[in-house]
Amino acid sequence: MTSNYAIKAAELGVRYDLRFNRKTTVRTSVANFVLRRPPARFWALRQVSFELSHGESLAVIGPNGAGKSTLLQVLAGIMRPSEGTVDVRGNVSGLLGLGVGFDNELSGIENILLGGAFLGLEDATVQQILPSIVEFADLGEFIDAPLKTYSQGMRARLGFAIATAVDPDILLLDEVLATGDANFRAKSKARVIELVQAAKGVVLVTHDMEWVREYCNRAMLLEKGRVVLEGDPEEVVRLHLERTAAATAARNAEALAKGLDPAAFAGPRGGGAGRRRG
C-alpha cells in the first residue's frame, strides 16, 4: 500500500442536520422534541469517491447547490464528513471565497498579520511574506487604512493576496477567478496558474468551462451531492453543458405552459438541492 496519492476520498458523505441551523431557537427545539418530529436531514454530499494523484488538477463543476463548495470545505478540514473517509496528504491552502475581512477596524497591514495568525503561519513567515502581499494587493495608501474604508474589490484583492501568499502542497479554489477589475483579474489568473503549476494537487470549483478545458486534467460533475461523471474534462464539460441546456429547456417549457415569458423568468435555480445555505 504505497499508492502515491495527494487526496483520497472514499464514500464521502456530508449530512446537514436541519434541526440545528441559524434559525434554531430553544422554542422550536422543545417543540420538535415534544411533538417527536423526526430529525430533518439533508445530504449535501453522498458517496463521493475519488483519488487525486500528485500533479493533478481536478475541476469540480455542477449547478448551484450541487455540493461543490461543501466538498472543498471537507477537503480543507473546515467540515467533518458524516460518513466515509478523506485522507489529505500535505499542507492545504484554500481560497474558499474571497473578501475575507478579518477585522473591519484594523488596517490592511494588521489584517495581514491577523490573517496569517488565523491561517496558522509562523510569525517569521508572515513578516517574510508581508512585503509581497502588500505589493500584490496593490492598495496604495489604503494598506494603512482600516478595512471598513475598503471597497468590495479592494477587500477581494487583499483577501486574494493573503490567501495565495503561501505555497501549499494542495490548493483548493472556489470560484476565485471572477473578482476584481479586469487588470486584477488577469493578475490573479496568472498567480493561480503559477500556484497550480507549483502545487502537488489542485481542486477547484468553477463555472468557467474554458478554464476547465485549458488547465485541468480531470473534471468531476456533481449534481445533488452525487458524482454524475468523473474523468476527462472535455467529456465532463460536454455532459454538464448538455444537462444544463436540457434543464433550461425543461424550465422554459414549464414556464410557457404556465403562460409566462421565459425571458422574463430569469431566476437561475437549476437543479439546486433543497435548502443549501451559503
Binding site: 456530508v14 446537514y16 442536520d17 440545528f20 441559524r22 434559525k23 434554531t24 431557537t25 430553544v26 422554542r27 427545539s29 470545505q73 471537507v74 480543507a76 478540514g77 473546515i78 467540515m79 467533518r80 464528513p81 458524516s82 460518513e83 473517509t85 478523506v86 485522507d87 489529505v88 500535505g90 499542507n91 492545504v92 491552502s93 484554500g94 474558499l96 471565497g97 475575507v100 475581512g101 478579518f102 477585522d103 477596524e105 484594523l106 494588521e110 498579520l113 491577523l114 495568525a117 488565523f118 491561517l119 496558522g120 503561519l121 509562523e122 510569525d123 513567515t125 517574510q128 511574506i129 503561501v166 505555497d167 501549499p168 502542497d169 503559477e194 507549483a198 502545487a199 502537488k200 451559503g278
Partner: protein, 323 residues
C-alpha cells in the same frame, strides 16, 4: 490539532517546487492531526479532545493576542470617550445602586459605596465576558466557513480581553479605596488569587456559552435576564451575613447554605474580605478570604473548564454546517 500540526508546518518538501523560497506553512489543516479529525464517525475520546483543545489554545497564543488587541482597538475607537468607558461604566453603576439602596434600605453598611464596589467591578468583568462570548463564534461565521482554525481561540480571546477591561475597572476601585485609606491592608495580596479563580470560572462559562449559542441563537435573549437574576441572588449589594440575619433565612438555614454555594457568593465575599474588611471597621478590618471555599471553587472551576472544553471540541465540527 496537536503538536503534529506544528511539525507538519515546517515540513518543506524539496520536491514541492523549484520556486523559492518554499515557505514553512502551518496549514489550515495538515498532516495527521487534520486527518484524524476528518476520519469521523464515532469521533475521538473525551480525553483526547480535551488534550487537543488545550494544545490548540497554547499553540495559538499569538492569534489570541492579535484578537485581544483588535478587540481593545475596537472599543477604543467606537465611542467618543473610548477607553474611558471602562472607568465610567462601573462608576455609573455604583451611583445607581447607592441611590437605589439608600432609598429602600434604612441603614446600609458603613462605607457602602466601597462595600458594593468590591463586587460591582468583578461582576462587570464576568457579565461583559459572558455577553461577548455569546456572540463570539456566531459573529465569525464567515471565517469559520472559509478557514479551518481552532475555534477555541474565540472564547479564550474574549475572556482574555475581559481581563484588560477588569484592569481598567481597578482604577476607579483603587480611587475609591484611597478615600477609605484606613481599610487598605496587606490582605490585598490575596486579590490576584481571587481574580485568578474568577478567571478560570469565567473562561469555563465563556467556552460553554459560545458553543451553545451556535445551536440556540436565542440564548442571548435569555442570558441577559439570567445574568441580572444571578447578580441579585449573589451577595453583591448585601453580604451573606446580612442575608442570614433575615427572619425567613433564620427559620430556614438551608436557604442561606444554598446561597453560599453560588460561585459568586464565594468570590464576592472573598473580594470584600480583602478590600473592605469587616463592616464595623474593627482593626484590623481586612482579613484573609475563606481559603477553603476559594480552593474548592478553584477545583470545581478547573473541572468545569475541562468539561466545557471537551464539549466545545465535540460540537466544533458542526459549527461550519450550522452557521
Amino acid at each position: 490539532m496537536d503538536e503534529g500540526q506544528d511539525q507538519g508546518a515546517v515540513r518543506a518538501d524539496p520536491s514541492l517546487s523549484a520556486r523559492d523560497p518554499v515557505l514553512p506553512f502551518r496549514a489550515m489543516s495538515s498532516g495527521d492531526a487534520a486527518a484524524a479529525i476528518r476520519q469521523s464517525p464515532g469521533g475521538p475520546s473525551s480525553l483526547s479532545l480535551l488534550r487537543q483543545g488545550i494544545s490548540e489554545i497554547l499553540s495559538r497564543r499569538r492569534l489570541i493576542r492579535y484578537l485581544v488587541q483588535a478587540d481593545m482597538k475596537k472599543r477604543g475607537t467606537d465611542t467618543v470617550l473610548g477607553n474611558l468607558w471602562w472607568i465610567l461604566d462601573p462608576l455609573l453603576q455604583l451611583i445607581v445602586y447607592v441611590i437605589f439602596v439608600s432609598i429602600i434600605a434604612r441603614r446600609p453598611a458603613p462605607d457602602y459605596p466601597l462595600f458594593i464596589f468590591a463586587a460591582i467591578v468583578p461582576w462587570k468583568w464576568f457579565s461583559s465576558v459572558i455577553t461577548d462570548a455569546t456572540t463570539c463564534v456566531v459573529a465569525n461565521e464567515k471565517l469559520i466557513r472559509q478557514i479551518a482554525f481552532p475555534k477555541l481561540v474565540l472564547p479564550v480571546s474574549v475572556t482574555t480581553a475581559g481581563v484588560v477591561g477588569f484592569l481598567w475597572g481597578l482604577i476607579p476601585l483603587g480611587g475609591l479605596m484611597l478615600l477609605h485609606a484606613d481599610r487598605i491592608s496587606i490582605m490585598l495580596v490575596w486579590f490576584p488569587v481571587i481574580a485568578f479563580v474568577q478567571f478560570v470560572f469565567t473562561l469555563a462559562m465563556a467556552v460553554l456559552i459560545s458553543a451553545a449559542n451556535v445551536f440556540f441563537r436565542d440564548l442571548g435573549n435569555a442570558l441577559g435576564h439570567l445574568l441580572r437574576l444571578w447578580w441579585f441572588l449573589s451577595p453583591g449589594l448585601y453580604s451573606l451575613e446580612n442575608l442570614r440575619s433575615v427572619q425567613y433565612v433564620q427559620d430556614h438555614p438551608i436557604v442561606g447554605d444554598l446561597f453560599a454555594l453560588n460561585p459568586f457568593a464565594v468570590l464576592f465575599e472573598a473580594y470584600r474580605a480583602v478590600i473592605y474588611g469587616f463592616p464595623d471597621g474593627a482593626q484590623p478590618s481586612a482579613h484573609p478570604p475563606d481559603l477553603l471555599a476559594l480552593g474548592a471553587l478553584l477545583l470545581a472551576s478547573v473541572v468545569l473548564l475541562g468539561f466545557c472544553i471537551t464539549f466545545f471540541k465535540r460540537v466544533e465540527p458542526e459549527f461550519a454546517k450550522v452557521l
